[in-house]
Amino acid sequence: MDYLTRREELILLSIGNLKENAYLVSIREHLSEIMGQEWSVSTIHIPLRRLEKADYITSFYGEATAVRGGRRKKIYVLTEKGYKALGVNKSVNDKLWADFSDFEIIKG
């Protein structure tokens, strides 16, 4: 299994967090809020496409809204493979963090 990049991981996590309302603008907002920095459109758009192609997420079109000039939202949801990938990622991360004893020093 391929490991996720940091950006992909973040995006997958935010899609999971946003539940049924995960589309480009909301994902961007969510991430910007948490990380405190502006994300440009393409930094989310391109990973999204790659993730969809790799079957980590799937998408459907939501209803059209007036704000979008009558265009429909493309809403993303995690697939089983996406969940698994996140799980693998997390366990790897956990293992690495568990062995990383100097954490306190950095924090301090």
Binding site: L24, I46, G69
Partner: protein, 862 residues
């Protein structure tokens, strides 16, 4: 409220899902939100920031997608190449051969046109030539009369500098105990450095002017005689005079009319410039450099009669008209009408070979276009599939053009390899020394890139635009599935055009060969077989020496002469005694009584010299028919017994004409036979003419050499066979013929290559038709006729077009020769036959194969 159109457009352009307008929707939502919270300007700036930040990502992504598609195109292109290995090979190598021919020819032409352009300011440097009209004769010299140069230098402000060069073709050089004839000695004045370029390898050019008895030698001589260490300081002797080597000059470039191995100053040559004031003496070439503001042509007009301005009385007295002509130094090689020291080029040959180069390239390109097109039309199904799978027309166009660009690029790469490998042979062919480095000049490189583009686009555009326009439905349902290539008028025209070019090249080659053969075998008016000439220093003992040589077993006849066939002793003004008005310049040869029988020269009137008649020796002339006619004798018999006067008028030297010979070609065949006077003056004799037996020739030659040394007739023994010597006159024509035959062979080869693959392709496309015809009972011959008929028709049409053209061209070429062949019908019959046979063979390989094929096989799959 909407995002500005500009942004919508930009985002749509770079992102992939423009169909769903997804991203645009997202952008718009962002924009509106921002608009509500912080106003129009901020929203705009925010969008702009997004755009800038996004562009690199989107762009990288775009390229990534393009590469994926490109890899797919490359894969299909390579698969297609592999599937039709034969065609691909023919296609690429054919074009590669065409390109390499064209580039090689370009190198040659560039070399020829670049003669003497290495001299700085070469466009201001001229050589002064002279044209002298004396009575009835016209003489041209590549030299100016001696006192003219100081006059030009001092009296004309238009001239920056003027200088003289005297040249010797062969000199006897001695170093230690080694004696050899070496070529090319030049004698110069100091200010020649201001006009022409001399690059020193070692030492200083001025040494020869500062230090008497000093000589400069070329790198070639220095490398030949002084292998170790520097040549400077050593001494050599030239024609018996000792010189110290004061410098080594770099070998002059290949493309110069002025080559040298030794440079001397006039001071060293006992011929101080201040002693050169005889207006009738043209001993040196004169070079001038004009000021940059002077118009060469106008100035040439101005000094046309300069000699008369300064010394009119003298020329009036001699009854000469002396005109001066200027020839730009870089035109000497190609345009000179004068006798030159180095082999001359000919602008006509340069033009014709350039045309041949272009024609070959055209043939190769047409092949390429024809084949690429033919092969592409078999790919209609691929086009249909791509269209169904959603390919845009633009993408298909790109695909086909890209593919043919790829092919033409491959051809160019192969052509560079071909050039690299064939350059040594090409150098032998054209007798030049081109190097592969000449290839990397900006003109060739840019020309090649342009060629790749033109050929790629040209060949790719038919399938690109024609095939991509098909409706996928009609392609896949098979309606346009098989395009009948043979019916396309473009293809017909291409084949006809190629064949017309080939016909012109073949007939041209045949005519050139016929003319050379004619010149070589033309009866020269004397017997040139088994004749040998040897320079010999007689000391009034020619009779006893002749007898000595006649004792040798291999020698049949012997004769002494001054000047010999192919090389006169000189020329003099000549006139009839009673007729004072007109003078003629005539060539002179002196020989003994055995010369005429030895060369089997025919006498039409009078008699040969006779040793027993004392008045014959130094008292009689034999003249040729042309001389008799020009002296005004209507009948050759009339000349016998008359007196003619020669040399300076004041001396009243005259001799009796005792015989008249038939005209014989004592010079080459390019020129008409000139008037010739033959005398019997033993004091001038310098040559021994021998008739030798052909068997045991080497032994005979060594015995002659032994005898020659015994009799101490000179320092170095050298000999020449008259027939070989005469053949040398046609070296440049022979070279042209070789170039012609090489390139016409290539042209024929390329045309056949094209024809071969085209016929194969058509036969393959008509497999089913042939299968059906066979089941319906068509005969083998009928089928072959069906398949070859079209091609033969085209070949005949091509011949009809090409024959008048080639006749015009070759007739024009022949006008250069004083004695020439007439172009016979057989030239055209032979060329037609050659092309016909080759084409039939080429086509039938494929047609017979497909006509023999089992119809069951070809019809089984539908």
């Amino acid at each position: 409220m909407k995002t500005p159109k500009f942004f919508q457009w930009l985002f749509a352009k770079i992102s992939d899902d423009s169909l769903e307008n997804n991203i645009i929707g997202d952008i718009e939502e962002l924009y509106i939100e921002k608009l509500k919270s912080s106003g129009r300007l901020n929203a705009f700036l925010c969008l702009l920031r997004h755009l800038f930040k996004s562009y690199p990502f989107f762009f990288a992504d775009l390229i990534n997608r393009r590469i994926t598609m490109f890899m797919n195109y490359l894969k299909t292109a390579l698969r297609n190449l592999m599937k039709y290995k034969g065609y691909s090979l023919i296609n690429i190598t054919g074009l590669a051969i065409g390109i390499s021919c064209c580039i090689l020819i370009f190198l040659y032409v560039d070399h020829e046109l670049g003669y003497d352009e290495f001299h700085p300011d070469h466009n201001r440097v001229y050589r002064v030539n002279s044209h002298v009209k004396m009575g009835l004769s016209d003489m041209s010299f590549n030299a100016a009369c001696d006192p003219l140069v100081p006059v030009l230098r001092e009296q004309y402000p238009e001239i920056e500098d003027a200088s003289r060069i005297s040249r010797r073709l062969n000199v006897l050089m001695r170093h230690n105990d080694e004696s050899n004839y070496e070529e090319r000695l030049i004698i110069v004045e100091k200010n020649i450095m201001n006009i022409l370029e001399f690059n020193m390898h070692e030492g200083d050019f001025e040494c020869i002017f500062n230090d008497p008895g000093t000589i400069i030698v070329s790198e070639y001589i220095s490398g030949k005689y002084f292998k170790e260490g520097s040549a400077i300081g050593n001494s050599i002797s030239i024609e018996g005079k000792r010189y110290n080597i004061g410098g080594v000059v770099k070998n002059p470039p290949n493309n110069t009319h002025l080559k040298y191995n030794f440079i001397l100053s006039f001071k060293n040559n006992n011929k101080s410039p201040d002693k050169m004031h005889n207006w009738a003496n043209l001993s040196a070439s004169a070079y001038i450099k004009l000021q940059s503001y002077v118009d060469g042509q106008k100035f040439a007009e101005k000094i046309r009669l300069i000699a008369h301005e300064y010394n009119d009385d003298y020329f009036k007295m001699k009854n000469w008209t002396y005109t001066t002509e200027l020839l730009p130094v870089n035109d000497i090689h190609l345009y000179s009408t004068y006798r030159e020291y180095e082999p001359k080029g000919n602008i006509i040959y340069v033009y014709s070979i350039s045309i041949i180069g272009v024609l070959i390239l055209v043939i190769a390109c047409l092949n390429f276009v024809n084949l690429t097109t033919a092969r592409a039309s078999a790919r209609t199904r691929e086009v249909g599939m791509r269209k169904v799978a959603g390919a845009h027309r633009r993408q298909l166009i790109c695909q086909f053009i890209g593919e043919s660009l790829f092919l033409s690029l491959m051809s160019s790469i192969i052509s560079i390899i071909i050039i690299y490998l064939s350059l040594p042979y090409f150098n032998i062919l054209i007798n030049r020394e081109l190097s592969i480095n000449d290839l990397f000049n900006p003109l060739i490189v840019s020309g090649m890139v342009l060629l790749i583009l033109i050929i790629g686009f040209g060949a790719g555009s038919y399938p690109a635009f024609f095939l991509s326009a098909f409706k996928p439905l009609s392609i896949l349902s098979g309606k346009t599935g098989s395009v009948r290539n043979s019916r396309s008028p473009l293809k017909k025209m291409i084949v006809i055009f190629q064949y017309a070019i080939t016909v012109i090249l073949i007939t041209g080659t045949l005519v050139v060969f016929k003319q050379i053969d004619f010149m070589k075998n033309h009866f020269l008016g004397f017997d040139k077989e088994q004749k040998m000439t040897i320079p010999a220093g007689f000391r009034n003992n020619y009779l006893s020496i002749k007898d000595e040589f006649l004792k040798l077993p291999g020698v049949i006849e012997a004769s002494a002469s001054a000047g010999t066939l192919g090389r006169t002793a000189g020329s003099r003004t000549t006139r009839r005694t009673e007729d004072d008005a007109d003078e003629l310049i005539m060539d002179y040869i002196y020989f003994d009584s055995d010369f005429i029988p030895l060369y089997k020269i025919e006498l039409t009137a009078g008699r040969n010299f006779d040793e027993r008649i004392s008045t014959d020796i130094e008292g009689a002339f034999i003249i040729n028919e042309t001389a008799a006619r020009m002296l005004g004798f209507h009948n050759t018999e009339d000349a016998v017994g008359e007196y003619i006067e020669y040399g300076s008028r004041a001396l009243h030297q005259r001799k009796e004409v005792i015989g008249v010979t038939k005209d014989f070609h004592y010079s080459d065949l390019q020129n008409k036979i000139a008037p010739l006077v033959m005398g019997f003056d033993p004091e001038y004799f310098r040559f021994l003419n021998l008739t030798v037996k052909t068997e045991k020739l080497t032994e005979t030659v060594s015995s002659i050499k032994e005898k020659w040394t015994d009799q101490s007739l000179g320092e170095i023994f050298s000999y020449r066979f008259v027939d070989e010597f005469f053949d040398r006159f046609y070296v440049s024509e022979e070279r042209v013929a070789k170039i012609f035959i090489t390139f016409s062979f290539l042209a024929i080869f390329l045309s056949c290559l094209g024809l071969f693959s085209l016929s194969a392709f058509i036969a393959e496309q008509r497999t089913k038709e042939i299968g059906v015809r066979k089941t319906m009972g068509a005969t083998l011959t009928g089928l072959i006729g069906l398949l070859t008929g079209d091609f033969l028709k085209w070949i005949i049409i091509a011949n009809l077009i090409a024959i008048p053209l080639s006749y015009m061209i070759m007739d024009n070429w022949l006008q250069d020769f004083a004695y020439r062949i007439s172009i016979g019908l057989e030239v055209y019959l032979v060329s037609f036959f050659i092309i016909f046979v080759i084409s039939i063979l080429t086509i039938s390989i494929q047609t017979i194969k497909s006509a023999l094929a089992d119809p069951v096989k070809s019809l089984r799959y539908e």
